[in-house]
Symmetry: C2
DNA sequence: CCTCTATATTGACGGCTTTCGATTCAAGGC
DNA sequence: GCCTTGAATCGAAAGCCGTCAATATAGAGG
């Protein structure tokens, strides 16, 4: 699961980046390149229930309501969050897929043995299976 | 080592981001938010010797020499690369520290037991120490 | 149906970014 | 010293971005 994301796309340091892929990635990084959007995304991603109402985010900033709405739109267009209207309110939640892809992209490749052992552990392999 | 980077600064999804830290991080993400800079950084980071001459990067793009120089400057100001003049030529290399920090920041926290076991494995703890 | 509240959209303004041509600076070779 | 080559800086033009006030839309409740 996590390992597949990392293996499907070469990381930043594994080979020179192709033009098309660089453009794709730059779009997402650009969405993260604003303090307000970073705080919004963090607010949403760190929320326990997984959802945050706009009515709760707007007063957390010294910005107008349209500005917050604009930033949320950009985060949504970058594939980082999604939303749903429920009555008068709109709720946002995080989509972890793109974030995980970015993390994998930025992660500098470690030694092969370390990666293998670590991921065996994450996947849930028992210690007996790892060492005879 | 890797674990310390992750633990010193709370990740995106662990708690709402503070204003100051969001501004810091946004600066780096903004530097990554351009296809040309992403390709430049990838070219540098993926190079085997670790160093790339400007004279090699400039012709790889359909852009003027001052423009490439400008992008390299932004990457350097973001703490992602550094350079040194050697005779007539200037060589750039990647500084992995900030990249690793970003990757840790973006990585969504896994279940506690998984993390513990995985990092024990990475650090090199024997299986006997992990399970009694 | 009208009103009220919550959110999104529109239009405009100032500032920042990307890009270029022209120039400058640094180092080597003659 | 003077010229050549590689790279950085300067100054300007075009476009994009973050922000706001004003307006539009969606739904709830009388």
């Amino acid at each position: 699961m996590v390992g597949q994301d990392a293996s499907c796309c070469p990381g930043l340091a594994s080979a020179p980046l192709a033009d098309v892929r660089a453009t794709e990635l730059a779009k997402v990084f650009k969405a993260l390149g604003d303090p307000v959007r970073l705080r919004l995304l963090s607010m949403i991603a760190s929320r326990d229930g997984g959802e945050v109402c706009v009515c709760e985010m707007t007063p957390a900033f010294d910005l107008s309501q349209p500005t917050i709405s604009h930033h949320l739109k950009l985060l949504r267009q970058a594939g980082l969050i999604d939303c749903e209207r429920r009555g008068t309110w709109v709720y946002y939640w995080a989509l972890p897929g793109v974030l995980d892809q970015l993390a994998a992209f930025l992660t500098t490749p470690r030694a092969v043995t370390e990666v293998t052992v670590a991921e065996a552990a994450v996947v849930g392999v028992t210690t007996a299976e790892v060492t005879p």
